[in-house]
């Protein structure tokens, strides 16, 4: 029986509104990211975004997802079905099995 905290956090991420194009045309992904940053702080949504850019994004057009270390303006982020602005935006510390949804609004209506 391990006593140490899990080294990675399992998460369910979903991409809609056209973003799935950047991620192998797949809307839902089950991933696991390191539970701590290199400096020992718990991983937050900002880290998740960096991790996605480095590991999951398959399309070279990263600028459709991120801009200057954060999501591009016009992309909504839902943490467990709630607006991330209510949870601290990219400072929210991830919990195991959190559901993060990225919805793009940048397309014709």
């Amino acid at each position: 029986m391990t006593e140490a905290k899990a080294a990675s956090i399992p998460l369910a991420v979903e991409f809609t509104g056209g973003l799935e194009l950047l991620f192998s045309n797949q809307r839902k992904h089950k991933i696991a990211i390191p539970s701590k940053k290199p400096d020992g702080e718990p991983s937050n949504v900002g880290d998740l975004i960096s991790w996605l850019c480095d590991n999951l994004i398959k399309d070279p057009r990263k600028e459709m997802f991120v801009l200057d270390d954060s999501v591009r303006p016009g992309i909504l982020v839902l943490i467990n079905d709630a607006d991330w602005e209510l949870e601290g935006e990219d400072k929210y510390e991830l919990q195991p099995n959190d559901e993060i949804v990225f919805v793009s609004t940048l397309h014709g209506g």
Partner: protein
């Protein structure tokens, strides 16, 4: 972080932060208030008549899907008795429109609404893919906009509908306001910020669609934007929480469009101060009130304009054009303003000459009350749109034998609408386009002009020698 509680029901966990007022509410409360606000917009502006037949411009995208869903819900809930149909335009853009039309078909089934699809190919003989192949990617949005404008009207005529609704949201209107500011096109602001616009449209009798001598009935096709005060973010959230099925990809030609720059500005602004979007819309509405219309008075909300609706769609769409035309108009306006200011300072009354004849099929001036206050400024002659005054031919001093006109600085939407209705109908040279019979104040309508350009340049199959 401790979860917030919904500020409306004080029971459930807050899931949404509303951009317009930073309210924290749960999803059910959000759906409820979103629908109620749209209903309020519709009833307070008397947008619909009971039993009216309404065509919903449906592209399969988020805005039109939400529009169809909300209208259907509200129609049933409040028993407005509206007769709703879906009207879709196929521009012939592969990889974009063909997929979104599938979404519209699914919507049609899900909301149990009849669907009519009108294509550029059948209307004009050109699909947008063919147009772009011909003219490239700059200015193609203008073609698309002009064609779509006519296509929607014709589709509406085919359905026997006098009112088309589109899913334009607050972000769209804010972008349009900015775009027109950036291009110095204030007169267009009035139409862009009106929730309801009305233009005369020609419907041809079915037997005579080709013959020029066909019977043409002129009806008023109304256009409105019920979602005009709804944030794009909230529309997406509504669709998300109600699990609505919509299609989401950018038009493949849109990256070149000028609107993209305005959109980037708006999105960055939203990040810092989300209320700005609705504030820009309201500023646009207020600015539009200051722009003079045909009677020499500031524009109210509802205006009937013929020719420029066509260009309107082009501008309101993705691309940009008419820059030169607009720059020279602005230069004239600025000159006028300077002259008027000088006159004011000098204590001399500024008076404006009113032309005595009709120019270029524009409206003649209405009756003017000479007892009214002098004008401060804001006079110009803009091509294709009448403001009831003649531009100074050489930009020199204003002649002294002119009458004064009034500018009403505050104007209620309703009273101006009433004024236009009660006033005698404007003498407008409404005719038919020589080519297609569509209503136009010009001999050839804009769509036909564009088509002529396209067809002339169309590569021939054989090569002529000698």
């Amino acid at each position: 972080m401790a979860p917030h509680i919904c500020q409306l029901c004080n029971t459930s966990r807050a899931q949404i932060l509303r951009p317009k007022n930073h309210a924290r509410i749960c999803a059910p409360c959000f759906i409820d208030i979103f629908e109620r606000e749209i209903a309020e917009t519709i009833t307070s502006t008397n947008l619909f008549q009971p039993g009216e037949r309404i065509a919903i411009g449906a592209s399969g995208g988020k805005d039109s899907t939400v529009l169809a869903s909300v209208l259907k819900t509200l129609n049933d809930r409040h028993a407005w008795g509206l007769d709703l149909v879906l009207l879709s335009i196929d521009e012939g853009i592969t990889g974009y429109r063909d997929h979104s039309l599938d979404a519209v078909k699914r919507n049609s089934v899900e909301y149990d609404l009849p669907l009519k699809i009108v294509s550029y190919e059948e209307l004009y003989g050109w699909s947008m893919d063919q147009v772009v192949a011909q003219i490239g990617k700059k200015g193609n949005c203008t073609y698309c906009g002009v064609f779509r404008r006519q296509a929607l009207d014709r589709g509406a005529a085919m359905l026997g509908v006098g009112h088309v609704v589109t899913g334009h949201n607050a972000d769209d209107v804010a972008e349009t306001v900015l775009m027109n500011l950036l291009r110095g096109d204030l007169p267009r602001l009035g139409r862009a910020t009106s929730i309801l616009t009305s233009t005369p449209s020609a419907t041809m009798s079915k037997t005579d669609s080709e013959a020029k001598g066909g019977e043409v009935t002129i009806t008023n096709v109304k256009r409105s934007k019920p979602l005009m005060y709804a944030y794009e973010k909230e529309i997406v959230m509504y669709a998300h929480y109600k699990k609505l099925d919509y299609f989401s990809t950018e038009c493949i030609y849109s990256p070149e469009a000028f609107r993209g720059s305005a959109r980037t500005l708006i999105k960055n602004l939203e990040r810092i101060r989300p209320e700005s979007i609705l504030d820009v819309v309201r500023s646009g509405i207020d600015m539009a009130k200051l722009v003079p219309n045909a009677e020499g008075q500031p524009k109210g909300a509802v205006e009937a304009v013929v020719r420029n609706e066509v260009e309107d769609e082009a501008e309101g769409g993705c691309g940009g054009s008419n820059a030169k035309e607009v720059v020279s108009e602005m230069a004239q306006m600025e000159q006028k303003l300077r002259q008027d200011e000088r006159a004011e300072e000098a204590g001399t009354e500024t008076e404006i000459k009113l032309p005595s004849k009709v120019l270029d099929g524009q409206r003649p001036d209405r009756d003017v009350n000479p007892d009214l206050l002098p004008v401060a400024a804001l006079t110009t002659h803009i091509q294709g749109q009448t403001h009831g005054r003649q531009a100074q031919t050489d930009g020199q001093q204003l002649p002294s034998d002119i009458r004064t006109v009034t500018i009403r600085t505050k104007q209620e939407k309703k009273s101006s609408r009433k004024a236009t209705r009660d006033a005698p109908p404007p003498k407008q040279k409404l005719g038919q386009c020589e080519r297609c019979g569509y209503l136009s104040s010009q001999a050839v309508c804009k769509a036909c002009m564009l088509l002529e350009g396209l067809n002339k340049a169309r590569p021939r199959t054989g090569i002529e020698v000698g």
